[in-house]
């Protein structure tokens, strides 16, 4: 056997482990920073000791009701978006692919908007997330039915275009028919995407769905590697492509649908993060999954911390900030791809 090849494989594996450890450490630091940064002056030490002692003091309430949900939700949503982006890019073998592309995000947004419009959102807290998940599920079932008929990658993308324009039109219709200007304004704000004013109840609602989605996506890592050489080669390596597509679409719907449902649309995380990290994992789509989740969480938390530190009030919406970063990034990416072609 060839000792050089073994050494190279070992080296690449240890480099990957180092990257995962580094990103995990960064994520923990960002989460801590997100808890520490806020509008009210907060004595973190007092807040934590009050909380652990079970005293419902003001600092403890700020920590548990405001800071902690915001930081945790930022990490969870960012992880979901980064991971789902990497997974969709691997499935469609296109660096421009994103959960938004398949229509999952916009269908989730429409599901939530429908809850606003019908007035359920005001009636009970969980209506909004449930509406978002229902929308994502509906889009997923459509994609899944198409997948079951042996549709290829191109058909999935086109189905995404159809779902996107339909969900967009229905969302506009809901705005148009909104019972009063305040309802319309509320919908518009919500569509912009934000981590502010969410509670631990939101987290408990979406966490199981996200975890299931993550498991489905992460379990597809080796199959995505095989797909690098095309669908025939992947199948000849023993991968069941129908089942792989079902896992990836279902996983993305769960993770992204749950995210959009609680935070609104936060775009471009799934596009930017995998692109930046891809060279660091040797362009291997399987290894890109976990690190993109970690990177997505870091980016989302960093953007959310930055908009709280910026002297603009009312604070910018997170979806606006990620779009401001992401849209120019997308254009430069397309330019570079055109030049390479």
């Amino acid at each position: 056997m060839n000792p050089a090849a073994t050494a190279i494989a070992t080296e690449s594996r240890s480099r990957y482990r180092f990257l995962v450890a580094l990103l995990t450490a960064l994520l923990l630091a960002m989460t801590a920073l997100s808890v520490a940064v806020g509008y009210a002056d907060l004595d973190l030490g007092a807040a934590f000791s009050d909380w652990l002692a079970g005293r419902a003091s003001l600092p403890a309430l700020v920590l548990v009701e405001l800071r902690l949900p915001r930081a945790l939700l930022g990490a969870l949503v960012g992880f979901s978006l980064g991971l789902a982006g990497a997974a969709m890019q691997g499935l469609l073998r296109n660096p421009l692919a994103e959960p938004g592309l398949l229509g999952i995000s916009s269908a989730a947004a429409f599901g939530a908007v429908a809850m606003f419009y019908s007035g359920f959102a005001g009636a009970f807290l969980l209506a909004l997330p449930l509406g978002g998940i229902a929308g994502a599920m509906l889009a997923t079932l459509l994609l899944y039915a198409l997948n079951g008929r042996g549709a290829g990658t191109m058909a999935l993308i086109l189905a995404g275009v159809a779902i996107n324009s339909f969900a967009g039109a229905m969302t506009s219709l809901a705005l148009n028919l909104a019972p009063n200007p305040y309802a319309a304004l509320e919908i518009v704000f919500w569509l912009m995407g934000s981590l502010a004013d969410r509670s631990m109840a939101h987290i408990w609602l979406v966490l199981p769905l996200m975890l299931l989605g993550w498991a489905l996506l992460l379990s597809s890592a080796t199959a995505l590697d095989g797909l690098t050489l095309g669908e025939d080669t992947a199948r000849s390596l023993g991968f069941d492509l129908g089942w792989l597509r079902a896992r990836l679409i279902g996983g993305a719907a769960l993770a992204v649908g749950a995210s959009v449902a609680v935070t609104g649309a936060i775009g471009f995380v799934g596009l930017v993060v995998p692109h930046l990290l891809r060279p660091l994992v040797g362009h291997r789509p399987g290894r890109l999954l976990l690190v993109s989740g970690l990177g997505g969480a870091i980016l989302t938390l960093a953007a959310d911390i930055a908009l709280r530190l910026m002297p603009i009030r009312p604070e910018l919406k997170l979806g606006v900030v990620t779009a401001l970063i992401g849209a120019p990034f997308l254009f430069s990416l397309i330019q570079r791809m055109r030049r390479a072609a």
Binding site: N2, A5, I8, R93, T222, L229, S236, H283
Partner: protein, 264 residues
């Protein structure tokens, strides 16, 4: 490994692409699949690799159907080298070749010593060991093709089905690739290779299968398959014949004028 195809028919987009195909493939034999563009060579190879279901006929692997054998087992027994050499991400050559070991890997397990050894053997055989750390976009088309050939060899399957593995190779590497495939076959694996070069096909293959319009026109020893009548009928060409080192060869020489053209 033995593949038995009986009376295979395939329609794609309403057009009958293959019909009445009977074919027996066995280990230790190098079979060249030749025929004009659109004869159904790629389709037949995909059917044999269980990548495309046949509309009619039966296909047996060592006497079993693909379903009975199981997807994972079939993946370890049959290696498939796709046409065109598409690589969607710019991975390093070493990582690409390592993909050939995926059928042998248990879920979530890392490469073991046997995998490393197989990868090193395959890379040495295809003469790509020096490219291990190079990304695929830094290689020429022919070099990339050899990396993909190494990927298919790394499976160490009992049957290798290769669709135009010579595409983009220079003459030296064409000769070396054919010699490598022949060695692979004579070391005990079955090899089926789609070729366009009739002289290489005639020289290196133990047996040729000539497809024309979705049917097997001829199947047998290269000399008998590459006779004037078959070549005229399938390709519409005349060949120039000669011999070197006691081996006969046939070179495409001129098109045979079509009947409607001679009439006018």
């Amino acid at each position: 490994m033995q593949i038995e195809a009986r009376d295979i028919a395939v329609s794609l987009g309403g057009k009958l692409v293959l019909r009445g195909i009977d074919l027996s493939l066995r280990a230790g034999e190098m079979v060249g699949l030749i025929g004009p563009n659109g004869a159904g060579k790629t389709t037949l190879l995909r059917v044999l690799a269980d990548l495309l279901p046949a509309d009619a006929g039966s296909l047996r692997y060592d006497g079993l159907t693909a379903r009975a054998l199981g997807r994972k087992t079939l993946a370890r027994r049959i290696a498939f080298l796709a046409q065109g050499g598409t690589v969607h991400w710019q991975m390093r050559a070493g990582a690409v070749v390592a993909l050939g070991r995926l059928p042998h890997r248990r879920p979530f397990a890392d490469q073991n010593a046997a995998d490393h050894a197989a990868i090193a053997r395959a890379m040495a055989a295809a003469d790509v060991t020096g490219f291990t750390e190079r990304t695929l976009d830094s290689l020429s088309g022919g070099e990339r093709m050899r990396v993909l050939l190494a990927r298919a060899l790394a499976v160490e399957a009992r049957m290798l089905l290769a669709d135009e593995p010579l595409a983009g190779l220079d003459p030296l590497h064409q000769l070396e690739a054919m010699a490598l495939l022949r060695r692979t076959a004579h070391a005990g694996a079955g090899v089926v290779v789609v070729l366009h070069d009739l002289s290489l096909a005639g020289r290196f293959c133990d047996r040729l299968v000539l497809l024309d319009q979705g049917r097997v026109l001829a199947d047998g020893a290269p000399d008998s398959v590459l006779d004037d009548a078959n070549l005229a009928r399938a390709f519409g060409i005349e060949v120039a014949r000669g011999a070197q080192d006691g081996q006969p060869y046939a070179l495409p020489w001129r098109p045979i004028p079509r009947k409607d053209e001679t009439a006018s």
